[in-house]
Amino acid sequence: MAHDEGPARPEGLARLLEEDPADLYENAPCGYLSMLPDAHVVKVNGTFCAWTGRRPEDVLGLRLPDLLSAGGRVFFETHLAPLLRLQGAVREVALDVVRADGSVLPCLLNAVEVRDAEGRPLLVRATVFEASSRRRYERALLAAQQAATDAEVRARTMHQVVSELAAARSAEQVADVVVRRARRALEAGGAALWLVDRVPGARPEGTVPVDLAASDGLSPELLAQLATAAPAGAELVRTGGVRAAPVGPELRQRWPGLAGAMAEAGQEALVVVPVSAADDRHLGALVLVLGVTDDSELISLAEPGTRGALSPADAELLATLGRQAGQALERVRLHEETVRQAARSAFLLDAARLLAAAGEVGETLERLAELAVAGPADICVIDLLTERGLTAPVVAHADPARRHLVEQLRDEHLPHRDGSHPSVRAMVERRTIWARGVDEAMLVRISTSPEHLAVSRALQLADLICVPLLVDNRPLGVISLGADARRGRFTEADVDTAEQLALQMSQGMDVAQRFELESRTSHALQGSLLPPEPPAVPGLALAVRYLPGSRGADVGGDFYDVVPLPGGDRVGLAVGDVVGHDVTAAATMGQLRSVHRALLVDCPDPGPLVERLHGSWPLLDLPRMATALFATLRPATGELRIASAGHLPPLLVHGGRAEYLPVAPGRVLGAPPVPPREWSGRLPEGATLVLFTDGLVESRTADLDAGLDRLRAVAADAAGEGPADPDALCDRLLAALTGSRRADDVALLVLTRLPGADALPQTAAAPHALPHALPHARPHALADALDGAAGDVTVSGDAMRWSPERTEERPPSSGFPGVDVAAGLGSFLGLDPAAVRRLVSGALTRLSGAVGDAVGELRQLARDVRPGGDEDR
């Protein structure tokens, strides 16, 4: 038998084992409860009553939930009861039973539902075990687990923050990360980051100027109140660590508005976290408001006013976050500054390139302004100062959508600005004006009309730098750079950039203006010195061309002349080239041509003419040497006489052939003379004579002989069998021989002796014979020339060019070539050369500055004195 093999049983065991089941129920080592399906207790054992200190009659009739703690009640209704109904049993449910004295007995409950044959519930039987120590242990485990989880969450938060901060490329991104992450980590109602304003400025005692860098979850009212308190608050956190302040009497006293807004928004505490750099420099403060979160629609679990205390772990998390944020901020600022500095350098280099490239002024300024708004500024306005005041400014805006605003400013408002405008002040005071932080008051101050104010507001100007363009402390204009609200304030480095740009521009414009003066004056004078269209000469078809060098500043000493000679049967021809391309060359040419005409009166033949010129050269005191070719032609007979003073020979084109006439070159005018040898021959009917200067045949890439060969070839090819049309031939020669970039001036004179010229009367009076010789007999030729010069130079408008390279080519000279020109012209017009020389040299010494004055005075002088007349004064 099995029980015989078992251990010996104590005496009386059988009786104990067969004890009364009622006693077993009543005094079991666990609580027993029997309940109706609706949880009403209908039977309870003594153990349960003993544990809970309740009498059976107190328990019977209650529902089980009535015996449980609040949490247990909810758990019973939401979990236990449904589960029991659904699966018929539950096991090891942790519940807190409330004792009669109100104390709590942690229990574990097992229950089973007794059902009838149809599955309807009849009864619920439950056993209850005391689980105090087990629950304590579980709670401790849970707490440890929770702490570990919290620590892990914090670690993860920090990890995320660190990696997001590392990815941040701008201060805005850093601020965004910090605000967002901090708010989430603390489940805060809102968060905002204020950064100390790095632009130094005046501030009230005990405050730090701060800018809002980012915010999240804060209502506008609360944000406004925080912003009001922030400057003083930033000073407070400067020395402290993480601080939490509940909305209490202290806060209400110091910042009543803020306390009110906090209460209004349901926020209960304020947490301020210092944001500092690695060297503890104070960079700003992170502010969190704790309370009901706006967007979760959840009621705070904490009782009102209990969120003011920050757990040490949270405080440490925030402190770390503040330090990380500070370091990230420093890093991106350094990065941003490096990038900005590189951009500034690149911008200045681009600007220098633009200024160095010889370009038309208006276009250069336009491109410069565009460059500025692509780089360091949003708005660029460039004004130039002329003798008539400011010109219409060049404007640009970075945003095409706002371009119309600056154009409106340019067209309607800037012309009316007065001395209070920073740009005007910059010029008047000759120093940089930095309008730090343009505000409404300033806009009102500088606006000239409500419309002007409206445009200024629409531009959202946040900052403005005006730098005068100065040469020798004399303003040439002003460049204004503006930043709009989207860009924010300028820094000292931006001001440096603007000043360097202005310096580059000033130098470029100074050079350009000096060069422009010479160029314009020279062109104007030369224009007046060149003969008008050649007169019609019976029996001849004539065409002339004069092309100055393709670089706008080139002016030359080339000339041509066609003069019907006294007696009417001959015509004098001349082509010449004074050495150089400058004002002196032009002036010398003018004198030379005038002297030539004067000599023609009694010495028309080429040989003697050259001789006379050689002879009078020292007396003329001409500063430059010149080559020239003189000829007389009798159209009726074709009799042609030519003498050369070092000039290239003329080309004869006839019968489909072209050849250079073997004219002896002779000596260059200004060189020690030798007697000239005159060439004489006959120009056949239908033949064409081409007189030219070396600009036609010389180039920088080929030598003179090659050029001459090419001219001959082109002319022969162009002429064909019949008489050549001089106009067409001129065009053809120029097109074939000179490119768009001529290095030198070209004077070209082409004439064809027309068939039938033999029939011309040999002594017919020429319609335009000397002494009509003075082409400048117009009373105010010089005045007109100077008018043109003055206007063009000082307006510094469309035609002005920068050409530093050209300027460098100028021969070093102590004086100005223009002095001699003016003196020569003055004497030509009957002025006292010495007086003119004094006047002009004085004026030209201050060339760039007082060009308007000088030209104006000269103009006045020219008007006052009639050619050949007396001074009025």
Binding site: R63, V74, L86, R91, R135, L142, I299, L301, A302
Partner: protein, 263 residues
Amino acid sequence: MITRNCVHVSGPAGARPMLFAHGFGCDQSMWRAVAPDFAVDHRVVTFDHVGSGGSDLAAYDPERYGSLRGYAADVVDICRDLDLTDVVFVGHSVSAMIGVLAAQAAPERFGALVMVGPSPRYVDDEGYTGGFTRADVAALLDSLDANPQQWSAVLAPVVAGPGNPGVATELAQSFCRTDPAVARQFARVTFLSDNRDDLPRVRVPTLVLQCTQDAIAPEVVGRYVHEHVPGSVFRQLAATGHCPHLSAPEETTAAIRAFLAGT
């Protein structure tokens, strides 16, 4: 949607749709004593909220389900997915308010609301009795922490009486599983929400079913809901506790049918 919310559809196609939404603490199996009866003449849809029962746990997003609106959005998704209109939304406990929010978000889908043990706010407030203090809710969250196995572990086949083979079968499954973290968050959202302002915006016929001795949603709360939902019908049930659809399915079904007959 069907997978995410473990949606089950039964009943004749084309019949008036009834959408049953379970409350906090369980899943759609709560409706098993009620839903089949309606499936005779209604298109019956049951589902699990994300994080409960057979729903796709991976779809749980703390942000989306950080407020009841996330759950309401799911309800709207289901309606759109199944193209349901004139829906009778039957919501138990917190799902009554989810139904209010869903009807607000997509009014064109809903024809009637049945609220079983509703509460717009569980925590007492000035001039308002919800039945709970903040401390009570904290204690509930503690109870949840004390019973993690309820959700995380499959229940062992315990105490299945020999005379109850049906029970044994059911034990092979497990009811009302919920991820502990999700359960805790759902409890927060449930017991800390305040939807009192949403009640007057209800625009459909509404039935408030109030249990006797309901510790979660006391009668005073049920009355409050009735008074603030325009034109609502209040029906006091003899059933006790918080889950009449489990403890008294016949009475619950009859009450809903009576209401629907009148709409």
